[in-house]
């Protein structure tokens, strides 16, 4: 048993780390580290820097621009980016639409969309959840009725992340509502956000952020050539994608960085003249969190080791999602606690709450990160998956 990386893997990590040190713009890093909300321009600036380096889509096949890295290298790259404070890469194009096109798309679809996703020409969003279809996704009702070489789409999506920035949306729609199984009769469509009949309405979250939206479809016409895979096979596509969506939710690198920030922050707080790190009640909470993250990092390595050995990612990924998000939330909770009563300050009255004041960002961050145990398959859904597929219950 060897818990450390090989010499080659260390060298790879050093290379990535050195590259990040010179190529990650400090202004972007500072905004990420202070929990700022990034604009589309800021997100795409980082996207294009990585694309120019050839590192924007490591997991893709090499003929489409993939790096050919193995799973350990891919993981190390993501961990280093998170640890360095690089802006998150929006998964909707790179890690969701693209894998679907590569697996199920026609040659024409691949040629049309993949290079634009790679370069960052198109910004994608995901049209899955509906007002009455959250965890029970297969009950979705947004309809697509075939009319010649077009589908006519009517209905509503909700919680659509960054739809207000998006050029395209991939959607699960119902093309046949007469079938017994709700998973049947669903299709996967790519829809241009500029299409007539699409309305995007912001949903402001409790931290004041505009991240998610409602998207309304009112007789929106979509060319049949924008359907991926066969009509009625949308659920097959969705299930394939769910495995991808959960690949990096452990987010060990990001949590390691935030833990260091928490320690530095707590060390500077005073209670009865002493550092908060020397206050036993707070210190024990911090230690337990650090230990949980240590355990998760090793569980993640064990998972990678199995993956490298040829075992496909299975339901075990759900475990990483559950633990990873619990830790992410706990980090924000302890930051809030460390700040004491001033954590309640969220910014100057009448001013922009999205400034560069770390203290003012803590409470909104705590609020915002409650989403992590809900999105991408709530942690309860993850437990259902584990119960069924790992435990056989």
């Amino acid at each position: 048993m060897d818990l450390d990386y090989s010499a080659d893997e260390h060298a790879f990590r050093d290379e990535v780390r050195a590259w990040l040190a010179t190529n990650l713009p400090p202004a972007l890093r500072d905004k990420v580290v202070r929990y700022g909300h990034l604009t589309r321009d800021e997100l795409m600036t980082w996207h294009r820097i990585l694309a120019a380096q050839g590192w924007i889509a490591p997991a893709w096949p090499t003929e489409w621009g993939g790096t050919g890295w193995n799973v350990v290298q891919r993981y190390l790259f993501e961990e280093e980016c998170g640890y360095a404070g690089a802006p998150p890469l929006m998964p909707f194009g790179l890690a969701m639409c693209a894998p679907v096109l590569l697996k199920f798309g026609s040659d024409a679809q691949k040629t049309r969309f993949l290079p634009r996703i790679y370069r960052g020409d198109d910004f994608w969003c995901q049209g899955y959840s509906e007002p009455d279809s959250g965890s029970d996704l297969a009950s979705l009702r947004t309809s697509a009725v075939r009319n010649g070489d077009r589908y006519v789409v009517n209905g509503q999506k909700i919680w659509t992340t960054l739809a207000h920035m998006a050029d395209w949306i991939f959607c699960l729609v119902r093309t046949d509502a007469t079938l017994d199984r709700k998973q049947d009769g669903i299709s996967f469509l790519l829809i241009d956000m500029k299409s007539p009949g699409i309305t995007v309405r912001p949903l402001i979250l409790m931290d004041g952020a505009h991240e998610v939206n409602e998207v309304f479809f009112d007789d929106v016409e979509v060319p049949v050539e924008n359907r991926v895979h066969d009509e009625g096979k949308g659920w097959t596509v969705a299930k394939y994608l769910l495995g991808h969506e959960r690949m990096n939710t452990a987010r060990v690198g990001t949590s390691k960085r935030e833990l260091e920030q928490l320690k530095t922050f707590a060390a500077a707080q005073r209670k009865d003249g002493k550092s908060l790190l020397d206050e036993p009640r707070f210190r024990d909470k911090l230690s337990r969190l650090e230990i949980e993250l240590t355990a998760l990092a090793i569980t993640n390595l064990r998972f990678l080791d199995r993956l490298r050995g040829g075992r496909p990612p299975g339901a075990d990924v759900s475990m990483l999602k559950i633990k990873g998000t619990e830790i992410q939330q706990r980090l924000t909770e302890l930051m809030l606690e460390a700040a004491g009563p001033l954590a309640q300050v969220v910014g100057p009255a009448g001013g922009d709450a999205d400034g560069d004041d770390l203290l003012a960002a803590l409470a909104p961050r705590y609020c915002n990160m409650r989403k992590t145990t809900i999105y991408a398959g709530s942690n309860e859904i993850q437990r259902n998956i584990l119960a069924k597929h790992v435990l056989g219950l």
């Binding site: 337990r288 355990a295 569980t299 064990r302 437990r383």
Partner: protein, 385 residues
Amino acid sequence: MNFDRTEEQELIAASIARFVERDYTFEARRRIVASADGCSEDVWQAMAALGLTGLTLPAEFGGLGGGAMDAMSLMEAIGGALVVEPWLATVAIGAQLVARGGSDDQRRSIIAAVAGGARKIAFAHAEADARHAVEHVATRARHDGDAYVVSGVKRAVPHAAVADTLIVSVRERGGDRDADGLTLLLIDRAAPGVRLDPLRMLDGTRAADVRFDDVLVPASARVGPAGAAHPLIGAVTDFATALVCAEAVGAIASANAATLEYLKTRKQFGVPIGAFQALQHRMVDMTIEHEQALSMASLACATVDTERDPTVRGRMVSAAKVRIADACRHVAQESIQLHGGMGMSDELKVSHTFRRLTAIAQQFGDADHHLERYAALSGGREGSP
């Protein structure tokens, strides 16, 4: 990065699994626990025949030369089958202290005898007011010519009554909690002035309070440096702590397997109770506890085998023990709850696993003790875990 077992480790794991399945059924264990000694000489000799009594002892004295990582599968099997034999006390602590600190003569005679199954050792260390502090020793040793004269009381010494030899921590100087001043002495269990009061422990194992009344010990019985044995005791305690973390992983796996089986077979309201989501999610959380515990046991065993810096070593072992203690408590309590009334019954193995998990949570220090030690050893240490 590699989490696969080596070929040797696979062989050890396979032979232990065969042995446990054939000779250490739950019914066999029940008879052993109820016997006069509370453990079995037959089982001990069978373990010796498999080489297990020398697994972590130096090859030059008849052992197999393995480390904690090599002993993980043994410890997991011990935890799974609730083996009550004095393997940890004799091989992982007693003989390990001799292997690391003993003279050539001591190593030659004692390690070979332990590896061959001819000798058992108990570590007489813990005292009434020590709680979990390794440095707390009030038992005194004064000099009388070339010899030591030992007086004091050791509490609940695991397996003392079946041990041939006690390895006893004594204080030559200083206050009861000073790290300086500690010495280790080999004392025959039957030596004049040594008195044992046997005890039964929650997990079915035996122990004894051991009283030393002016026991005369020759200087040649000293293991390691005079008055400076604390680093040796600390290193071997970390070694044993890492191993007991691996034992916990085996016991947790056993409790989880029994509980999962029960969820699938016990029917209420016309369906297996495992069909209920409230129970499914609790079973999933127990499974996650097992994964996190296995990760930390692996980290602890790898650390005690390879880490030379005692601060880093202690910090990682304490991290593991905090996590393991939490997992022990969580899984033990949930396994009983999900078994319902049956879980309370002495007839079911799971209630015995509950007792062992409860003991492991406290053995070598509970979660609070190791949280405090972890924080103390992390002092001024910024950076990733």
